[in-house]
């Protein structure tokens, strides 16, 4: 009688343990990997540039493939020089854009003094100024109206030292008005 009672108790204990293991395993597997999913899909197309770069009347630029990047190369001397048409920015369609220059990298900046501007022969906007080894940018946008061109001018360029080369890497930011959608082209200024 006593043996039977013990056996029954042991039976119940084993049953409870087994059920616990079973429930534990089930819950871990079921709940451990559940996620709610949200989706963010996009399709992107390569398009013909609406704004392109072209060599200006001063013939100081090299424009690269697709006219979306360029290098302006000028020999700086101890005599101040100005290049009003070092690079042209051409709007190829009827859209209005806002453009500005913003530097992101430079070397040997103390070698030269100059002011880089955007202009359309009537108005101008000072963009980047290099003077006494420091560099400043205005962050002002300049309008690029439909089917027109504006120009990058290098004003009052003068070298303080003949050693080395000054490199200034800048983005031309082309912004859709009233949005924060924009395109970046790289323009390198090289003053030898």
């Amino acid at each position: 009688m006593k043996k039977t009672s013990c056996a029954v108790k042991l039976h119940y204990v084993l049953l409870v343990v087994t059920l616990s293991i079973m429930i534990s395993c089930s819950f871990r597997n079921v709940f451990g990997d559940i996620n709610d999913f949200m989706n963010l899909n996009s399709s992107t197309d390569c398009v013909t540039p609406s704004v392109i770069l072209e060599n200006g009347a001063n013939a100081t630029s090299t424009v690269y493939e697709n006219n979306t990047n360029a290098k302006i190369s000028i020999d700086a001397t101890s005599t101040q020089s100005t290049y009003n048409y070092s690079l042209d920015i051409v709007n190829k369609n009827a859209s209005l854009w806002e453009v500005r220059l913003e530097y992101f990298d430079y070397t040997n900046i103390s070698r030269v003094n100059t002011t880089i501007i955007l202009h359309n022969n009537s108005t101008l906007s000072e963009q980047i100024t290099i003077s006494g080894g420091s560099i400043n940018q205005s962050n002002n946008y300049y309008d690029l109206t439909s089917d027109t061109s504006i120009h990058i001018g290098i004003m009052n360029l003068v070298e303080n030292s003949s050693e080395g080369t000054t490199i200034l890497n800048a983005h031309l930011r082309i912004k859709t008005p009233d949005t924060t959608t924009y395109t970046l082209y790289i323009i390198t200024f090289e003053f030898a």
Binding site: K3, A7, L10, H11, L14, L15, T18, L19, I21, M22, I23, C25, S26, R28, N29, V30, D33, I34, N35, D36, F37, M38, N39, L40, N41, S42, S43, T44, D45, C46, V47, T48, P49, S50, Y64, E65, N66, T68, N69, T176, T179, T180, T181, Y182, T183, L184, Y185
Partner: protein, 180 residues
Amino acid sequence: MKMNYKKSLKFVTLIITSLLIATASAAIYDYMYLNATVGVQGMTLAWILGADNATAGTQINGVTSTLTSLKGPPNGTRIYADPVRLNNTGGSAITFDLLVDAVSGDTGELESIFVLIYSVNTSALIQNVTIWASGAKGSDATGLSIPGNNNWRFQWEITWKATATTANSATVNLKIGVPV
């Protein structure tokens, strides 16, 4: 005390049977849940339009947002700073994973795609996620925690190679996985 081998054998059989049932049950439940239609019941995350929704062609349909008009020139970088936002409508922080599910199309002409996540509330950069770079799909960003009643904007930066043409396009599928 004498051992009752017959009963012990029954108990052992019962244990093995129970474990088999447990394993099978767990596997079946897992399968059922993973294949179920995922709903948003109780989910406090939602897509909302960002300031650049018009230029990006943002569409929102339930848990899915689609950016239909992302465009970029060859050898230039096009940036959509605020095409869509993730909005935590609840009062508590939610931790989620951003999964780079698929990048397809003319990826051979694609230089890079980055998605930068910024807090609209604090302007802080939360995460820079590489979607495509160096000819390969980027990695998932896990364990991102958006505070309650906060918005995060998803900034897209797209650069096509100089050799890309107007015939080239690409598709990106991202998933937000929220453990429940």
